[in-house]
Amino acid sequence: MKCFEQLNPFAVAVYYLCVLGLIMFSMNPLLLAIALLTSVLSAVLTGTANGRAHLFSAIVFLVAAVLNPLFVHKGVTVLFYLNDRPFTLEAAVYGLSAACMLTAALYRLRELSRVLSSDKVLYLFGRFSPKLALLLSMTIRYVHLLRVRYRKIQDSQKALGLYDDGNLIDAVRGRARVLSILITWTLENGIVTAESMESRGWGTARRTSYAVYRVHAYDALFMFVCAALTALTAVGVYHSEVVFYPVLDMDLLSPWGIAGAGAFTLLSVLPLTINGTEAIRWRISISKI
């Protein structure tokens, strides 16, 4: 089954670039409300965020929404006074919009890190520099290797009775020794890796970067749809200018505004739509079998 996660990483990156760009650069309350709702919906349906992540987002939302009206006193519509300072409607709306932006962006970034796994990121970098891609790949490998080795060294030093963590100074000294062994060990063995690279033709020709991903017609189609919806949204946002201070002045429901909001909604639920349609098609194809 072909789903959003299996699209070419390039298409996925373009999608998140569009969505995050629109979320972060349009201070349009309607758009931001849609962004928050759809990103929560998507997080729930795809299981990207667990209970703790939702709680964290809720706290971020509340703090961001409350902080602005507490510290910004611009605006003419005073709702009430707090410690002799005005609490204005304008500042509250602005705060809510900013909170929507922040929370929606957080949800989308979390989703991005789930969808774009390390090898997909490597593929993206590899398009620009094959050497950078290899460097990243080797780094990822070494992080794991070093962690495993650190543990091994700690164990063997401890079992030899050389690792004393009875008091702070000894513990620090012990750690320093473990690190020193780790470095020696890794550097010494780095020679073997270097030889392995050399004997496999490293540096003999202009390097190419092999990727397991292909760009298919539907990737291109997907990117085209993304671009079109983003353009429509941007035009809509441009035509429905929003002014917060001193008086709220926004025409969110103008024809352009509605068109922009509609396009943005479609864009936001595009991954869900793709996966949903595929799930239905799968059901149908199964029932045919």
């Binding site: 030093q157 073997v192 890796t193 490293w202 020709a205």
Partner: protein, 542 residues
């Protein structure tokens, strides 16, 4: 025309007094499978590296190496593949598919060519299912197969293998060697392999070449080499005896006549020639009322709270003054068992006692002072100092009573000495706390026959001094040489435990070559020496 033609080759390392290789003449035809044998330091690796110009080390070279009649310097990367000993370090990238593509990326191949070759190789090596896996999650055997596969992507004509199975367990090693054999037969690649596993390689190779201190001493078919090595004037003391397959050693020890047996099957046929009225040596010592040194009862352990149990109700008792071998496949959890027994990991249930006191009662590191010591699998993790001398001085190691003289190594860096010597320095360090129980994790890994024999002597000397030794190993042959009791570890617990004699005779598959050769005729002949002794007792040579 010969594939490789080595003429009067000599090589000297800078600042070395002796030649690493002297006057080697060797001609290898296309598609040959040649095994290069010899003790550590005999110049095998040096010779192998000279055949791959990128890996050539500094030094003065005399003589000629021709590759297809041309000077080898003009030969490119593509035609010679090289796989070294350490599986972990040769891997460059984090994904299996990337590792396979690495060589071709370096050579600047096109996307579609790489895709085709990666798919082809993955199918041939049966690694299609793990293409997407992280290289870190592979086992040692899988890593080494990946290294071989990655080298094969460039379609080499010559494959150089420098002790590729030294770090692997017997099962993974067999799999690796049979893959090499298949490559040789099916693709015609010329194979030159340095290895100590004569049991398999004498059966697989077309030709065996033996080096000794830089000189070529034997060269011929496996049977010719084994025959001349076994019948040489100084044969019983010859360092090559240890490198011969068990069947050949039994044959030699009883002064056998006729054709020299090399494989298990040939060995069985040879043993059938002898009488078996005396079936066993009847020398099993019965020891009673033994004192427990280390006991584990119902130990359960897992790494993560919801993870699978690595140890499941493990029961193990090691008696004072014995050598106890815990055998089993790699990844079965033996090393975890060792770490738990050494108090490095806390089991979530079960009781452990050391010298009849709970392990928990040894507080403030007193456990590791005079009670228990662990020699780890990766001895690199032990060394702290610049020289072996400092290394031993710092931990106040008792050098005088150590059965091997380490003094000549004092000025060397621990990484610059041979694997066997490194093992001994680590052992000396582990003994510095004068432990009652010594746990050794895979001590025989990567050692040649002579180094193993030396290690065996040391372990037996320690036993004589009253040290209890717990040996964690996958090396059945080594366990047979030094253990009093053996246990088979499987599924997180001990599946069978018995005296070495009964263990080796009772097992049909997981046992020594000698035991397999003699099992139909004799009982308890689990080493070549015991088999020879039994044959002699039954009347000896026909």
């Amino acid at each position: 025309m010969a594939h490789i033609d080595i003429q009067n080759l000599s090589f000297t390392y800078p600042n070395a007094d002796e030649k690493a290789l002297s006057d080697i003449c060797l001609s290898i035809g296309h598609g040959a499978f040649v095994t290069l044998m010899g003790a550590t330091g005999s110049g095998k690796s040096t010779l192998l590296r000279l055949l791959k110009p990128e890996l050539r080390q500094n030094g003065t070279l005399a003589g000629k190496i021709k590759y297809d009649g041309m000077d080898i310097e003009n030969n490119g990367t593509r035609t010679v593949g090289y796989v070294a000993q350490n599986p972990e370090e040769q891997i460059v990238t984090d994904k299996v598919w990337h590792e396979l593509a690495f060589t071709l990326e370096n050579l600047g191949a096109k996307q579609r060519d790489i895709a085709r070759r990666v798919a082809e190789i993955a199918a041939y090596f049966d690694m299609d299912a793990w293409l997407e896996r992280d290289t870190a999650t592979l086992s040692g055997g899988e890593k080494q197969l990946l290294n071989l596969a990655a080298v094969m992507t460039a379609d080499p004509e010559l494959l150089l293998l420098d002790e590729p199975t030294a770090q692997l367990d017997p099962i993974a090693a067999s799999r690796f060697l049979s893959t090499v054999y298949r490559l040789n037969r099916e693709t015609g690649v010329t194979v030159l392999i340095c290895e100590h596993r004569s049991e398999e390689l004498f059966a697989l190779s077309d030709r065996v070449v033996v080096l000794d201190r830089g000189r070529l001493v034997y060269d011929g078919t496996p049977r010719e080499v084994a025959t001349s090595a076994a019948t040489a004037v100084d044969a019983p003391d010859s360092p090559f005896m240890g490198f011969l397959p068990t069947a050949a050693r039994i044959f030699h020890a009883v002064n056998g006549r006729g054709e020299l047996p090399l494989t298990i099957r040939e060995g069985q046929r040879f043993v059938e020639n002898f009488d078996n009225t005396v079936r066993s040596l009847n020398d099993e010592a019965v020891i009673e009322n033994r004192e427990e040194a280390l006991s584990l009862k119902n130990i359960c352990f897992c790494y993560e709270r919801n993870g699978a149990d690595i140890l499941r109700d493990l029961d193990m008792t090691v008696y004072r003054g014995e050598v106890f071998a815990l055998l089993g496949a790699n990844g079965a959890g033996k090393s975890t068992a060792a770490a738990v027994a050494a108090g490095l990991r806390k089991p979530y249930s079960g009781t452990m006692k050391l010298f009849k006191k709970p392990l928990k009662s040894y507080t403030n590191g007193s456990l590791y002072r005079g009670n228990i010591s662990l020699m780890p699998q990766d001895v690199e993790s032990v060394f702290i100092h610049e020289t072996v001398g400092e290394e031993l001085k710092y931990c106040e190691a008792v050098i005088d009573s150590f059965p091997y003289d380490l003094r000549p190594l004092y000025s060397r860096h621990p990484y610059d000495i041979s694997g066997g010597e490194r093992q001994l320095v680590a052992l000396c360090k582990a003994l510095s706390s004068k432990p009652g129980v010594l746990i050794m994790d895979e001590p025989s890994k990567g050692l040649d026959a002579n180094a193993k024999a030396l290690l065996r002597d040391i372990i037996l000397k320690l036993k004589g001094d009253g040290v209890t030794v717990l040996l964690i190993t996958h090396d059945v042959e080594f366990a047979a040489l030094c253990a009093d009791r053996c246990a088979l570890f499987s599924q997180g617990r001990i599946a069978a435990v018995d005296t070495t004699q009964r263990f080796m005779s009772g097992n049909r598959f997981y046992t020594t070559a000698a035991s397999r050769i003699t099992r139909c005729r004799y009982d308890g002949a689990y080493t070549a020496e015991r088999a020879a002794a039994l044959i002699r007792r039954n009347g000896g040579a026909l």
